[in-house]
């Protein structure tokens, strides 16, 4: 048993990807490279891989070591706190984190800050004002962009619906609020439904979409505030043969959604820039470590991409980010 367990542990740690070692500039080879912990909400989604790629690129350029570690269970607050605490014990130089919960992560991050480790928050906010900077998409603005795009496409009049994501998700609720408030500026548009939710999974989003489409047969447009709900709605529209005739505006991208965009089954997708989020997170924490001032809030921008604009180089990069740095 001793031999077997030893072998498997040795194997496990040996085959694990070693942290990205980046050569620091020739001048300070004597000093050890700074170590920056970057903590996502999970590790399997494309969105987090993009953040990882951005962080690695910035780390390479600035000569800092990036330690990438997500919670062992996706979306498990307790597991993410474990990760923060491990990095405190490891005494990293700085933490860049996308907190899973605005309250639950406040205590461990405060402890980090009290231990002299600066914290930059990305993607979602935290109820603690000791963070050095908050770098994220302006989700409210993203929602208003979607509302304007939908209203313009419909010529300023028609009947639309919004299918929400789950309760308690701050980023999507901001998008939903932005959408509804911007729609108020388009008096010709009637919002037939805005209180239904697609739920956490793609499967639940498909059923919720089917119910919504069945209940309001005369809808002309739909807005969905995230990737899974947009995909669920796209599937429901395709199934009922309404894809392309009902104007769908969604949020975030995935290969299936980009395909729908190309086939004009989706009118527009609001795209965030996670690569930039990861990159700026690392850059700003290095700024803090080197004593430079950093802005308290940085907006990484939302871009509305349509079938006509999807092949422009800047948009193509957003829709299909270059993740090759992760394989090196």
């Amino acid at each position: 048993m001793v031999a077997v367990s030893f072998a498997c542990i040795a194997m496990g740690t040996a085959c694990s990807p070693s942290p990205d070692k980046t050569g620091s500039g020739s001048g300070d080879q004597a000093t050890k490279a700074r170590r920056i912990a970057v903590i996502p909400k999970g590790t399997t989604h494309e969105f987090w891989k993009s953040i990882h790629a951005g962080a690695l690129a910035a780390g390479r350029e600035l000569g800092v070591e990036i330690l990438w570690q997500g919670p062992i269970k996706e979306d498990d607050r307790n597991a993410q706190i474990d990760v923060v605490e491990s990095f405190l014990a490891k005494k990293v130089d700085g933490i860049v984190i996308a907190p899973l919960d605005d309250k639950a992560l406040a205590r461990p991050l405060r402890e980090a800050s009290e231990a002299g480790i600066p914290v930059v928050v990305i993607d979602s906010n935290v109820a603690w004002d000791g963070r050095k900077s908050f770098i994220a998409t302006d989700n409210y603005k993203g929602g208003t962009l979607c509302a304007d795009a939908l209203a313009t496409k419909l010529g300023g009049k028609g009947k639309v619906a919004m299918l929400r994501y789950i309760e308690g998700s701050a980023s999507t609720e901001e998008r939903e609020r932005g959408f509804l408030e911007a729609m108020a500026n388009h008096p010709g548009i009637e919002i037939a439904s805005s209180n239904q939710r697609g739920g956490a999974t793609t499967a639940s989003a498909v059923s919720a979409s089917e119910t919504l489409l069945g209940r309001f047969g005369d809808l002309q447009g739909v807005f969905c505030p995230n990737e899974s709900v947009t995909f669920g709605m796209l599937r429901a529209l395709q199934d009922s043969g309404k894809a392309g005739s009902i104007v769908l505006v969604g949020f975030d991208a995935s290969p299936k959604l980009v395909e729908g965009l190309a086939k004009r089954e989706i009118e527009a997708l609001a795209i965030q820039d996670p690569v930039k989020m990861g990159e700026l997170g690392v850059r700003r924490i290095v700024d803090v470590l080197e004593g430079r001032d950093v802005p308290a809030r940085i907006d990484t921008g939302v871009t509305l991409v349509t079938a006509d604009s999807m092949n422009e180089p800047a948009n193509a990069r957003l829709l299909d980010p270059d993740l090759s740095i992760l394989d090196k």
Binding site: S5, C15, G70, S86, K91, D101, K103, E111
Partner: protein, 321 residues
């Protein structure tokens, strides 16, 4: 003690020693052997550890409890709701334990009165308790009001920097150690403990010997429920949030800790202190993997492998005996 039982008692110690040695020697795991890391790993063991105390009784009696994770989530929500209603931390803790205990009693009644296999009965409770947690929380996480956190002393229960400082470990860790020692004594030395082991070894014989099987089983599952309820309170203290979707799948970690600790899923064998070592070993393994920058899948594969290794060693030893 026979040589077999000594080996069985040593097994979790050896496992823990191996994990500690490997990561202590690992060049990338700086800070792994630090005092601070030992403190946080102990804290991270509390929730699985408390639940494993109850689960040891169940597994030694030949049963299984799949509902632990859901009961923890339910009691963490109950705790947060009581605090939100401003009833104070003590009552919140009592309510969380009570909620867990009620679930345990129901488990016990289903198993004895309805004669449902423990696997199925607690599988039912897994769904019922999780659903109840979502129901009473309005399908949302319940934030604990700031007043209860600081002055009310909720956060202090699981704080890495206990007050007073000479406590060294958080009160949550001390509670777990104390409960584990009591439970170990009860399981090994008390009449109740002997009955639990007898039921797990051979239920028919135990019945013929005059042990009241039904009453004992209901007591076992209620104790386990209460332990899970206390774990739920600790989770709420750690997260400062009562979360109906928390502790998903934690029952498997709990069962793994008990099995690594030397218990047999066939019943009749196992000890509380072994289970604690098993839980501690898994927490150290997780901590070490994070510090060496291993991907999360490496951790999952490792823990899975260790469970299989621990059980196969058990089977081999038994065949030889």
């Amino acid at each position: 003690m026979t040589s077999g039982s000594i080996l069985r008692a040593l097994r979790p110690c050896i496992g823990l020693a191996i994990v500690l040695t490997v990561f202590a020697l690992h060049p990338q795991a700086e800070g792994f052997l630090s005092v601070y890391n030992f403190k946080i790993v102990a804290n991270q063991t509390v929730i699985v550890g408390l639940a494993a105390i109850g689960a040891t009784f169940i597994i030694v009696s030949g049963g299984i409890d799949l509902s632990v994770g859901s009961i923890i989530a339910l009691s963490s929500v109950v705790c947060a709701l009581v605090l939100r209603a401003e009833y104070g931390v003590t009552l919140a803790m009592v309510s969380a334990i009570f909620a867990g205990c009620v679930c345990g009693v129901i488990n016990g009644l289903m198993i004895t009165m309805l004669r449902i296999a423990p696997f199925v009965a607690t599988l039912g409770m897994l769904g019922i308790a999780r659903g109840a947690a979502k129901w009473i929380s309005g399908e949302q996480k319940v934030d604990v009001p700031p007043a209860a956190l600081e002055s009310g002393g909720l956060q202090a229960w699981m704080s890495n920097r206990p007050d007073p400082e000479w406590l060294w470990f958080s009160p949550g860790v001390w509670t777990t150690i104390l409960l584990a020692l009591i439970a170990a004594y009860v399981l090994r030395r008390s009449v109740f403990g002997v009955h639990v082991t007898a039921i797990g070894s051979n239920e028919k014989t135990a019945r013929l010997c005059g042990i009241r099987i039904e009453r004992t089983k209901i007591a076992i599952y209620s104790i386990a429920g209460a332990c899970a309820g206390l774990a739920g309170f600790m989770l709420c203290a750690r997260l400062t949030v009562g979360n109906p979707t928390a502790a998903l799948g934690i029952e498997l970690d709990v069962i793994a800790a008990v099995v690594i600790g030397g218990a047999s899923l066939a019943g009749g064998q196992g000890g509380v202190l072994g289970s604690m070592l098993g839980a501690l070993m898994m927490a150290f393994l997780a901590s070490g993997c994070k510090m060496t920058g291993s991907a999360t899948y490496v951790q999952e594969i490792l823990i899975g492998t260790i469970i299989v290794v621990a059980v196969s060693v058990d089977v081999l030893q038994r065949r030889r005996a």
